[in-house]
Amino acid sequence: MSDPRQPKTAAPIAARVDALEGALTDAGLVPEGYLDEATAPAEDALSPRNGARVVARAWTDPAYRARLLGDGARACAELGYGLPYEESIVILENTETVHHAIVCTQCSCTAWSLLGLPPDWYKSPEYRARLVREPRALLREMGLDLPESVRVKIWDTSGETRYMVLPLRPAGTEGWSEEQLAAIVTREAMIGVARVTVG
């Protein structure tokens, strides 16, 4: 029996993609420059730096934090992030007693505008299968050991609403500027698989 994962005659993936692009281009269906222009935001405007700036503002401005938790989209728009891909966004505030983490078990949905296109680990079958069922063991493996006293709340992005975790601000950052704070906020922390740490 043939192995359907490795069809003997299957063309290399790069050749398959070129074949489709070529067929569509020759049929006049690809506007000039479209593929470069449409994909450029993925490496530029869609970046976890956006979410990091939102987190840093929330850490330094309690009124902004309240607005962010009340209406995430409007508060992101205040900082110039229009969320073109997210019609509904909820910001999940980590506390000393509740830890949030995000997954998409059925595909790999995320808030592109705030977190960027998702990294490979987020899209992996391992993460998608395990986080909802054994969150503590998986997070521990990934370097985040949560105390028993903390409740774990996993958000499965199964619909159209998108999520971003507002991590705990680390000790030792008193008096830091927003720019300094944004620089230490990682995508992993905004997905909920890591803490924000100093140094």
Partner: protein, 210 residues
């Protein structure tokens, strides 16, 4: 459909590998595959996002697990464009110089469109149960909450019902909800008391938990 994509809670998967300083795209073809999907969705309007998700779900299960993320994108996009008559498989295979694996065909035309409700049926704090709405078509109710009891924690906006839209049919907008399930309700004695999972569900997936 109870497909390979519906991974939540499956056993047997190992460690999650995090790549430091991961690039957005590892190879040029990944970026092109990403762009071709944007083209199919936004320019050609050959299919909608729900049909795209369903096409990914229809990949041969072994191909699904072995392929990288953007290879799954590519196979789904190529499958939809062949199914919609935009390109032919023969042309793709001639140009590629080899076989181009495609998704398996849909085995159903999808769910009938329910009549839209005038207002949200559930409110925050309501106890609900996930219906056994199993289907061979597209749905976004993950298997692991089927029949499970939870509590509505947020009334979210209305969105197109994927079970209808995923088959290219005219779909109604329907109320969605974030529903919180106790880990112990989902995973029995594996679930730690106090831990929970929140799942985003369309109204027709839910019934009142009497």
């Amino acid at each position: 459909m109870d497909g390979i994509h519906d991974l939540g809670g499956m056993n047997g998967f190992g460690a999650v590998e995090v790549e430091r300083n991961e690039p957005v795209f590892h190879e040029r073809w990944e970026r092109r595959a990403f762009g071709l999907n944007l083209l199919g969705l936004a320019v050609l309007r050959a299919y909608n996002i729900h049909e795209y998700r369903h096409a990914v779900e229809r990949l041969e299960p072994a191909h699904y697990l072995a392929a990288s993320y953007y290879e799954r994108w590519f196979t789904a996009v190529a499958s939809l464009l062949v199914e919609k008559g935009v390109v032919t498989r023969a042309e793709l295979e001639r140009r590629a110089g080899g076989r181009v694996p495609l998704a398996r065909p849909s085995v159903t035309v999808g769910a009938p469109a329910p009549r839209p409700e005038a207002a949200a049926r559930f409110a925050v704090g309501d106890r609900v149960r996930v219906r056994d709405g199993r289907t061979q078509g597209h749905t976004r109710a993950p298997r692991y909450v089927r029949g499970k009891r939870g509590v509505v924690v947020r009334v979210a906006p209305s969105f197109l019902l994927p079970d209808v839209a995923g088959h290219g049919a005219r779909a109604p907008h329907e109320q969605t909800y974030q529903v919180e399930f106790a880990a112990s309700a989902l995973w029995a004695n594996e679930g730690r008391p106090g831990d929970t999972v929140v799942v985003d569900l369309w109204e027709s997936y839910l019934e009142t938990d009497a």
